[in-house]
């Protein structure tokens, strides 16, 4: 029984890490309809900034996280204006080509600037302590990530469903021409959404770095994982993404506990099974 709880905690923590990193991608893919394979690249940029701020400049963790989010958005703005701007509404394959190109460039530049070694983001002592849950100990950082995931989910839900901007965003998504006719500045809406998605990527990259360490190849290494959880959840849906992350996290964790030899099989067979049952993703909307 204790083992079951223990696995449960691990599964929850892992699922939340996946959620925090992937949710930004769900925004770009579901709401902006851009297959953004460079999502991992932005998460990685966030990680590098945080690492540089916290480790090399010795700034506090919270400051480093803020800098990472803001810095990544600043870097992303010209990229959006110059490159992404050109692929809104283009065929998916064109978007794939462009965003893979961006990913390659970011990897190359990161490798050149920061070198190929792993970069850590020093966490404050309070997050490094093991915390006892009674039946087992778990690192405080894991609990922190779970909290972050919950906060992001709620915050984003509020932002999209309850704010005026959220209304404009959903209107622009459903019918850009109509929204524009109603006076919504779709250009601005897209730019802001993109910034939010990138900021979330950076945030996820930083808080998830304990599990997915920052190195130049990060951008490609985890791309598939992000893409899978977002699509399984149903792109654009926050509850869907959350459900997918928790479900896949649980399957992955349990599979790796029960039969580590076949861990990969578990995960991908589960993916096939879920998509088979929900061909539009867990919370998929009709096109």
């Amino acid at each position: 029984m204790q083992t079951v709880f223990s696995i449960g905690v691990d599964a929850l923590a892992y699922g939340m890490v996946l959620f925090v990193i992937s949710i930004g991608l769900s925004v770009t893919m579901g709401l902006m309809r851009v297959v953004n394979l460079a999502h991992g690249a932005f998460a990685m940029i966030g990680g590098y900034i945080a690492s540089y701020a916290a480790r090399d400049l010795g700034l506090a963790y919270a400051v480093a996280v803020m800098l990472a989010v803001v810095g990544t958005i600043l870097i992303a703005i010209p990229v959006e204006r110059l490159l992404y701007h050109r692929i809104y509404g283009q065929p998916e394959l064109t978007q794939v080509l462009m965003t893979i190109g961006i990913t390659f460039c970011v990897i190359g530049i990161a490798n050149y600037v920061f070198g190929p070694t792993l970069k850590t983001i020093p966490t404050p002592d309070s997050l490094r302590e093991p915390v006892s849950l009674g039946f087992r100990t778990v690192s405080a950082h894991r609990l922190f990530v779970i909290a972050c995931g919950t906060a992001v989910a709620l915050g984003l839900w509020y932002f999209i469903e309850r704010t005026a901007f959220g209304v404009k965003l959903r209107a622009s998504v459903d019918n850009a021409a109509m929204a524009a006719a109603l006076g919504v500045k779709t250009e601005v809406v897209y730019a802001v959404s993109f910034a939010v998605a990138v900021g979330l990527a950076a945030f996820g990259g930083v808080v998830g770095a304990e599990l997915l360490p920052i190195e130049p190849y990060y951008a490609l290494r985890y791309m598939v994982t992000f893409l899978v959880v977002v699509s399984v959840g149903g792109a654009g849906s926050i509850p869907g993404a959350l459900a997918a992350c928790l479900l896949l996290g649980a399957i992955d964790t349990t599979g790796r506990y029960l039969m580590p030899e076949f861990g990969e099989f578990f995960f991908y067979l589960a993916v096939i099974a879920i998509v088979w049952i929900f061909p539009r993703g867990l919370a998929g909307r009709a096109k």
Binding site: P116, L118, Y217, P260
Partner: protein, 390 residues
């Protein structure tokens, strides 16, 4: 253009021209992609050797040509090796980080009359694929066998083996199992994890549940190692007194800054530590550190490459620059020298390197950096893997 090509072709066909002006060495390795760091170390080792020993042997100038294979890709390795031999006219093939890449190129050697110096790929069987293969790195068997003895002598009797599910991981498991069971210990469980594992918590739970006193681990260096070691600490295994044994790939120096405190006290056996205390090594670390730019990125592939260049220089010396693979390989059989890692010999029979294997412990230096501290030496270790295969 075409004439040059034909001339080069003729040169290859006729077994090379004595006293060629430039002798080319083709190096195949991962210079970009997820293993770029290891490829960078190849280059640093080669640059260091050439900086210290000059770029000429006799009248001949040595030129190194690099070709990139980001991840194991035997077909691409063969294509690039072929290109190096046929188009660039290299007399020596070297490098090879991954076993399949080395294996794929071995069928070319005899036909091309080119020796291959393996600077990393660590599966025992590579040297048996062609008489023209010489290896200056190590084998997983070679570095994993002594840690079994260390574990048993330290009083650990029950060990769980946890390795990544690919060739080297399986080798490491077999080597440790053979050594540990021969000594009288028990492997309570042997787990093979997929290479793509991000969260190691469930594995740690398995280790806990197995009731083992110690864990033997093998993973490819890089992000997975970091995740594994962190999970080992965070899940309370380290604090719970579970001993940790691994070959030195896990605590390679370039990963230590990231591993940091988590790695403190981990014991590994390996053929080379950057901290190795010898005049030869100081010279090497200085030169290689300069070559790589950031000395913290230096780790074991550099020394394999450095010694590989030594062997190639000796081969060129012996053949006088003529292309004669048989003669070149013959010349280095039994060759002994003082490497940065300690005394080494190319075993005449297997053409694999015989070397000391060191037991090391991750320690914190006065300046706050972490390093592998050598605490015990197993002298003149051959490759037990070849014997095991027979």
């Amino acid at each position: 253009m075409k004439h040059v090509a034909i001339a080069a072709l003729a040169a290859v066909l006729m077994g090379g021209v004595a006293h060629a002006d430039t002798i080319k060495v083709g190096v195949v390795g991962p210079f970009s992609g997820p293993f770029a760091l290891q490829g960078k170390n190849f280059k640093a080792g080669i640059d260091a050797y050439m900086a210290l020993n000059g770029n000429t042997v006799g009248d001949d100038t040595i030129e190194v040509i690099y070709r990139d294979i980001p991840t194991a890709d035997p077909a691409q390795s063969k294509a690039l090796s072929q290109e190096l031999v046929v188009k660039e006219g290299v007399q020596y093939l070297a490098g090879f980080y991954f076993t399949p890449d080395a294996m794929a190129a071995t069928p070319l050697l005899e036909q091309a009359n080119v020796p291959m110096v393996v600077m990393n790929a660590a599966t025992s069987a590579i040297v048996t694929k062609s008489p023209y293969v010489v290896r200056t790195s190590f084998t997983t068997w070679q570095t994993s066998t002594p840690i079994a003895k260390v574990a048993f002598d330290g009083g650990t009797r029950k060990v769980i083996s946890v390795v990544s599910d690919y060739g080297p991981g399986v080798d490491a498991e077999a080597a440790f199992k053979a050594g540990f069971e021969a000594a009288g210990g028990e492997i309570v469980e042997a787990i093979r994890m997929p290479l793509q594992t991000n969260d190691f918590s469930p594995i740690m739970q398995r280790i806990k549940d197995s009731g083992a006193e110690g864990v033997f681990a093998f993973l490819p260096s890089g992000p997975t190692t970091l995740g594994f070691v962190k999970a080992f600490n965070e899940n309370g295994l380290k604090a719970g007194g579970v001993k940790f044994f691994a070959p030195g790939d896990l605590t390679q120096e370039s990963d230590l800054p990231a591993l940091g405190e988590a790695a403190l006290g981990l014991t590994t056996t390996f053929h080379y530590a950057v901290s190795h205390d010898s005049a030869e090594n100081k010279k090497f670390v200085e030169a290689a550190g300069k070559a790589i730019g950031n000395p913290a990125e230096l780790s074991f592939p550099a020394v394999g490459a450095y010694d590989g260049m030594h062997v190639i220089y000796k081969m060129i010396e012996a053949t006088g620059g003529a292309q004669d693979a048989a003669k070149a390989v013959e010349a280095v059989k039994g060759l002994s020298w003082e490497s940065p890692r300690g005394p080494v010999t190319i075993d005449a029979e297997s053409r694999h390197i015989t070397q000391n294997i060191y037991l090391r412990e991750v320690a914190k230096a006065d300046d706050g950096t972490y390093y592998n501290k050598e605490v015990q030496t197993f002298e003149k270790q051959g490759d037990p893997g070849l014997a095991a295969a027979k």
